[in-house]
Each structure stands twice: as structure tokens, then as C-alpha cells.
């Protein structure tokens, strides 16, 4: 068995649409400083660093080298990992495996993105095959719009069900000082917002943000000395789908099912609704907050709208999802998945401020991107 590992520090920037006052390295450094402050550590305590983003958003090659002034990796080991939208989850896993290997005691994972410097959707389109699919793959929104259109037809879900998720996420974000979009909205506001790609409207959609997040992982030897209540990593898992979008099973999302099955099994979770106290899920569109609930094993296929209408995932519900406001309120893409892990850890550590869910012992975070890469991490207040 590897070394037991916990999250002991979290730092993030105040995310916003354009950070013209800082360059990329400075943006990264804001998150790094806050994470070090949160853990009462200094840079000399960090044994290794992992960093990630999406190359084509800022057009900087070899980001691990370029970012050294911001990350503090001078004369330290640093490596870059990236898997598209799921990069943040990939980073968290990488930080975890660094420590779990027994080779490093304290490791910092950094995710960042300055989306304001890019044409995000144009860059994303180049993930598809240049000959067969690129000409008509219209960025990230199309596949999820099609997914929800099919779900509505099959199970009678409505646009209002998705709007209800959007309202939950946006209204939760009001209590998160780091969130990008912080505005109380109603289902009516969502329904009246401009249609982007039917049935997804503007307020059903995540923003593009500038921001960074840093999460510090520590070994069993160090963690209890650093954090009063470390968030112990119990399991991680990831799955991805095929190379060509045309090969996907759009009605089943096999990657979500495979990942959660594996992570629940590794963490000993038999009934996620009951066994997990809070989840930070990577839901890029409100529609995902409906459809994917089936595949998270919260309910039978097609039952998600009922749970949403009952408020099961609201702040005062049985399983609060995204107290932070989630991806719908904040989306610096390379950082987004790591923010989910950071927020889940803050919930365990009891440091989530106004967005704190009471008595969190088990928290789960996910990340999503590229060919339906689906990453999950389970954190607990107790050691594995």
C-alpha cells in the first residue's frame, strides 16, 4: 500500500472574466501564495510541483518551465499534466500520486487559465479529428445540447429542470467570495436568457474565467502537523471515451458510470446519496446537472428531474452539490477541476465560510473534459 495522503492547503484567485492587471505567472502566484498561507507553509516546504492548463488557450509551450517565477519551482521538481477540461482533476490525481508513491512529502498542484487571452471555442474545436470531425465540431456546447435534447425526449425532462440547476449553482455562488458570477437569479431569468444552442441558454452555460487554484497534498507523516483537519484522499479514478465523437453512446455516458463505479468501490461507498455529505461536481452546463445525476448512481435512469424538483441537491438538501457555485459560476478551465477538489477539501477542513455544509465527513469532487474524460476524487476527514 502507498503512503496515506491528505489535502492540507487550498488557495485560489478571485476569479473573473479578464485579469488585465496580472500576467499568467502573476496569476499563478496569487493562488500559490494563498495556498501556502492557508497551510502556514513557505515555498521551501514544498518538495515538488505539478502544473497544468490547456496550451492553446494562452499559446505558451512548455508551461512547466515558463511558469517557474509564479509557481516557485526554481530548483525543484516540476512536471506538467493536461487532459483538456479535466486537467484540474488530472492535476489533483498527480499531486496525490506524487505523495502516495512515498517519494515526496509535500506536493503542490497548480491549475490555471487566462481564458481572456484566447478564443476558447475555436481552440477546443481543434481537439477533434482534423479530417473527419473538425469542420463541424462546434466547440464544447453542441454535444451537451444534443445530450439534453435526447434526455428530454426520452424521459420527459424539461428546460425548467435544467434551469433549476442553473439557479441552484448561481445562487450558491453568491456566498463564495472567489466565484466569478455572483448574482441571484430565478428560473424565469434562465428561461428568458438568450438561446445559445437549443436547449442550452446563456444562463444554463458556464462562463470563461481567468483564474488559478493551488492545492497542497501532504503525506501521513506531515499532514497532521500542517492541518488541524486534513482532507484524506481515499480514492481517485478516471475514464475516457473513444477518439471519435461519432462513436460515443450519448444516452449512457459510460465514462461517468465507469469512473464513479470504480471510485465508489475503492472508497467503500455503496449508496452515494447517503454516504457522501457534499459533492463538488464539474457541471459545465445546467443540463449536465440533470442528466448526469442518473449516471452518478443517485437514482434510476430518468429519475434525476424528480430529485432536482425535490431539492435533494440544494444547500439544505440530502446531498448538497456545488456549494461553491460550481463550474456554472467559475470556469478558468485548467483550474476548474482542481477548484472542485479544493472546495471539497475546504468542506472537510471546515474552512468553506458561508458556503460550508455542516458536519462534512465525506466529500467528492469530479472533473470533466475532452473525449468525455471523467475524473473523480473521494476525500474524508478520517484516514483511509
Amino acid at each position: 500500500m502507498g503512503t496515506r495522503t491528505a489535502v492540507v492547503g487550498v488557495g485560489q484567485t478571485n476569479h473573473t472574466s479578464k485579469r488585465k492587471d496580472v500576467n499568467g505567472q502573476e496569476l499563478i502566484n496569487e493562488a500559490v501564495k494563498r495556498a501556502l498561507e492557508d497551510a502556514s507553509l513557505s515555498l521551501k516546504d514544498i518538495d515538488a510541483i505539478v502544473i497544468g492548463n490547456m496550451d492553446h488557450f494562452e499559446a505558451i509551450n512548455v508551461v512547466d518551465g515558463w511558469s517557474v517565477d509564479g509557481s516557485g519551482a526554481f530548483m525543484k521538481p516540476i512536471m506538467k499534466v493536461t487532459t483538456g477540461g479535466s486537467t484540474g482533476g488530472t492535476l489533483g490525481s498527480c499531486g496525490y500520486y506524487h505523495v502516495a508513491s512515498g517519494l515526496f512529502d509535500v506536493v503542490m498542484a497548480i491549475g490555471w487559465e487566462k481564458n481572456s487571452e484566447s478564443d476558447t471555442q475555436a481552440a477546443i474545436s481543434t481537439c477533434s479529428d482534423p479530417i473527419l470531425e473538425r469542420d463541424f465540431f462546434g466547440g464544447a456546447i453542441g454535444p451537451n445540447a444534443a445530450e439534453y435534447a435526447m434526455y428530454m425526449k426520452q424521459f420527459g425532462a424539461t428546460q425548467e429542470d435544467a434551469a433549476r440547476v442553473a439557479v441552484r449553482e448561481h445562487n450558491n455562488a453568491v456566498k463564495n467570495p472567489y466565484a466569478h458570477l455572483r448574482k441571484l437569479i430565478t428560473v424565469e431569468d434562465v428561461m428568458k436568457s438568450p438561446m445559445l444552442c437549443w436547449p442550452i441558454k446563456l444562463l444554463d452555460s458556464c462562463p470563461r474565467s481567468d483564474g488559478a487554484c493551488a492545492v497542497i497534498y501532504a503525506s501521513e507523516r506531515k499532514a497532521p502537523k500542517i492541518a488541524a483537519r486534513p482532507a484524506w484522499v481515499h480514492a481517485t479514478a478516471v475514464s475516457h471515451d473513444y477518439v471519435y465523437f461519432g462513436d460515443y453512446d450519448w444516452e449512457k455516458m459510460p465514462t461517468c458510470q465507469a469512473t464513479v463505479d470504480r471510485v465508489y468501490q475503492r472508497a467503500g461507498i455503496t449508496n452515494p446519496l447517503r454516504d457522501v455529505d457534499v459533492m463538488e461536481l464539474y457541471l459545465p452546463f445546467s443540463t449536465c446537472g440533470v442528466v448526469w445525476m442518473d449516471f452518478m448512481r443517485f437514482c434510476d435512469l430518468g429519475e434525476a428531474p424528480k430529485l432536482i424538483r425535490k431539492g435533494v441537491f440544494d444547500m439544505n438538501g440530502e446531498l448538497p452539490i456545488n456549494p461553491s457555485g460550481g463550474v456554472m459560476s467559475t470556469n478558468p478551465i485548467g483550474a476548474t477541476g482542481l477548484i472542485r477538489i479544493g472546495e471539497a477539501a475546504l468542506q472537510i477542513m471546515g474552512k468553506a465560510g458561508e458556503r460550508q455544509v455542516s458536519d462534512v465527513r465525506t466529500a467528492m469532487a469530479t472533473a470533466f473534459g475532452s473525449c468525455y474524460w471523467f475524473e473523480a476524487t473521494v476525500l474524508r476527514s478520517t484516514k483511509p
Partner: protein
């Protein structure tokens, strides 16, 4: 560190203008590594791939090779950087107790892009990029600084080129194998003073894969396991003006850590063969020094006295090194694969007889900002 073995390796032939696509290249080496290990895909617990969105010319470049690497249906991740770093991450995942085996792949089709323009994107977009800086021009600055400080000559650098291009004749995977003299190197066209064409690595397409296994799982593999004794990586400052370009402190630091893990006190005696990342001929001399094969500034003497030739005290790059095949990101992983073949005694005509301890080395970034050092043993 728990004992982790390399149980399978696979490489393509390196050449310019390969017609196979990314997935086909990765499939070729993943299949070869499985066959080499006597394993099937069902024996692989997780996969680490290596991509670069710039060289691959698409965003999320881990997508197109996902199925080919065997990661469908299992845990997977993706590193951007040299393959030695991907292998290091694979080692950490194998050590975590979660996985018993890890497949690590790297591929690159350098010929499909413009390597000089793509590497220019690694420079600061405001201050350096507009100067047209690239791998050759920045390395020329480093070469000149190093040569000036220690009195290293162009002729000594040329000897590295003669040695490695000659060694490449014994390596069926090598891209550029040449019978050349120091004079040929000196007369080859100047690219960026003092770097000439024959001091420079070629534009190569190719792929490499290795399979890591815990001691328990290595028992089931077909080949004699090669054990990982020590690994470390370390990164320098970003801006060239903030670095000592004449001596790589990160290399020295990574090497010392790897040697400490492996219990190596005198690397020049205890290491029997080394595969180092010689993107340019001067680099091999610098890396001799950083790796402790000789003292600072003595790289020139070491090549002069023949110690690193085949048959010398410490042969370096029997495969022909990166000077004879430079598939970016793959090249470091290929160094590991070559070291494994040496330790198994399966390196054919490039075999160093009786090699028991081997070193593999990778770099990434401007003027080798990051170094990764591996010590392996049979």
C-alpha cells in the same frame, strides 16, 4: 523505495516523414512493449501517455492516442514534457499501491510541424519571442557560454557528433547513422554559431513505450526485470539571463538525488553505460559534467581520452543518442528503453558487454531547463 521493474519496451524506427498517424505510431510501440513483456492489454492496470498540443497540432492531444495506448476502460493520465517525466509519473502511480502495472507511451511527429516556430512559443511572449529565439539559437548561446568559460573547442564538440552518429550504425531504430570525421562536422553548414548542422539532432518522427511493474507483477513477465534504483528531476530558472548556462545546477541536483537513492557514490566507476539527451553535441559534454562523470569543465577531456566511446570506461549513447534520432518528448523515454536493452544484454551490436548499472537522462525546456535522471540495474 519499493522495487519497481521495467518489464517491457517498444520503439519505432525513428525517421522523418512517417506516414503512420499518431494513433498508429502509439499502437505500434504499445503492442511491441506488451509482446516484449509477454503481456496482454488485460495485464495493464493504468496508462500514462505523453503529448504536446503544439507539436501534435491539436488541443487536448491525448485524445487521438487514447485508444491506441490501451487506456480505454482503465485509469489513464497524460504528461506534457519529456518521456522521462511521464515514466517518472508512471513509477509514482505504480508505487502508490493502486496499480500493479503501468504502460507509458510517448510519440511525436516533429516533421508535421515547424519545430523552430513551435519551440519559439516556449519563450516569453513579450520579451524574447519576437527576437526569433528557438532551440538552435538559444542553445548556441549556451554552447558559446560553456565553451568560453571552460575553453572547450568546436572540435571537441564535433567528436561527440562523430561518436554518436557512428554508434547509430549499430542501432536499427536510429534515424541518422553516419561515418563522419571531425572535419566533416566542422565543414557542415553553420546554423547558429558555433552550432553546425552535424552538431544538431535531426527532425525525427517516432514513438516509444515502456511497461512498469511491481515486484510481484514483474514475476509474471516474460523478460528479466530491469530494476529502477533511483530517479529525480529538477528545474532551473526560466529566463536565460537568470541562469548559469555554463553549468547545469538542476542536472547536478537531480543526479545527486538519483545516485543517493541508488546508493551510487562514484558514478564514473559504478555506472557502466549511459544514454543521455544530446540534442546538440555540446550538450553531451555538459551533461558529463552535470552527471559527475568528470569535474566541471572537463567534458572536453573526457571525449578526448575516449572514455565515452564504445569500448571506453563509460560508453555514452551506444544507441547513437538524440543526435541520431530526435523525436521530441519520445527521446528521453527512448533513452530509458535503450538502457533497459543494455541491462538485459539484448542491445545487439550496440551492446556494452556486462553492463549491470545504466543511466538514462531526459531534458525539457529552453536550454534544458528541466533534467530528469534515471539509474537502472539488472
Amino acid at each position: 523505495m519499493e522495487r519497481i521493474a521495467i518489464v517491457g519496451v517498444g520503439q519505432t524506427k525513428y525517421e522523418r516523414g512517417k506516414t503512420k498517424n499518431f494513433a498508429e505510431l502509439v499502437y505500434e510501440v504499445a503492442r511491441k512493449a506488451l509482446d516484449d513483456a509477454g503481456m496482454e492489454l488485460s495485464d495493464i492496470d493504468n496508462v500514462v501517455t505523453t503529448t504536446n498540443d503544439f507539436f501534435d497540432g491539436r488541443t487536448i492531444a491525448c485524445m487521438p492516442i487514447a485508444e491506441a495506448s490501451g487506456s480505454y476502460g482503465r485509469d489513464a493520465t497524460n504528461v506534457e514534457g519529456d518521456g522521462t517525466l511521464s515514466a517518472f509519473y508512471g513509477l509514482m502511480r505504480t508505487l502508490s499501491g493502486v496499480y500493479g502495472t503501468t504502460m507509458v507511451t510517448a510519440h511525436c511527429k516533429v516533421s508535421e510541424g515547424s519545430p523552430r516556430k513551435l519551440f519559439n512559443q516556449a519563450f516569453d511572449p513579450v520579451y524574447d519571442r519576437l527576437l526569433g529565439m528557438d532551440a538552435i539559437s538559444s542553445s548556441a548561446l549556451q554552447a558559446r557560454a560553456y565553451m568560453h568559460r571552460f575553453g572547450i573547442t568546436e572540435g571537441q564538440c564535433a567528436k561527440v557528433s562523430v561518436k554518436n552518429h557512428g554508434n547509430a550504425k549499430n542501432n536499427p531504430y536510429a534515424h541518422v547513422a553516419l561515418d563522419i570525421t571531425v572535419e566533416d562536422v566542422m565543414k557542415s553548414p553553420m546554423l547558429a554559431e558555433p552550432i553546425k548542422r552535424l552538431d544538431t539532432s535531426p527532425i525525427s518522427d517516432g514513438a516509444c513505450a515502456i511497461i512498469l511493474a511491481t515486484e510481484e507483477r514483474a514475476k509474471k513477465a516474460a523478460r528479466k526485470p530491469v530494476w529502477i534504483k533511483g530517479v529525480a528531476h529538477c528545474t532551473d530558472a526560466y529566463r536565460l539571463g537568470e541562469r548559469d548556462l555554463t553549468h547545469s545546477l538542476p542536472l547536478e541536483t537531480a543526479a545527486k538525488k538519483a545516485y543517493q537513492m541508488a546508493g551510487i557514490k562514484d558514478p564514473s566507476r559504478e555506472i557502466h553505460v549511459a544514454e543521455v539527451y544530446d540534442a546538440f553535441s555540446y550538450m553531451e559534454l555538459m551533461w558529463y559534467e552535470g552527471l559527475g562523470f568528470c569535474g566541471p569543465g572537463q567534458g572536453g577531456q573526457l571525449i578526448d581520452n575516449g572514455a565515452t566511446q564504445m569500448g571506453g570506461k563509460l560508453p555514452v549513447n551506444p544507441s547513437g543518442g538524440v543526435l541520431s534520432a530526435h523525436s521530441v518528448q519520445v527521446a528521453g523515454l527512448a533513452r530509458i528503453a535503450e538502457a533497459v536493452l543494455q541491462l538485459r544484454g539484448e542491445a545487439g551490436r550496440r551492446q556494452v558487454p556486462g553492463a549491470k548499472v545504466a543511466l538514462a537522462h531526459g531534458i525539457t525546456g529552453i536550454c534544458a531547463q528541466t533534467h530528469c535522471v534515471w539509474v537502472l540495474s539488472n
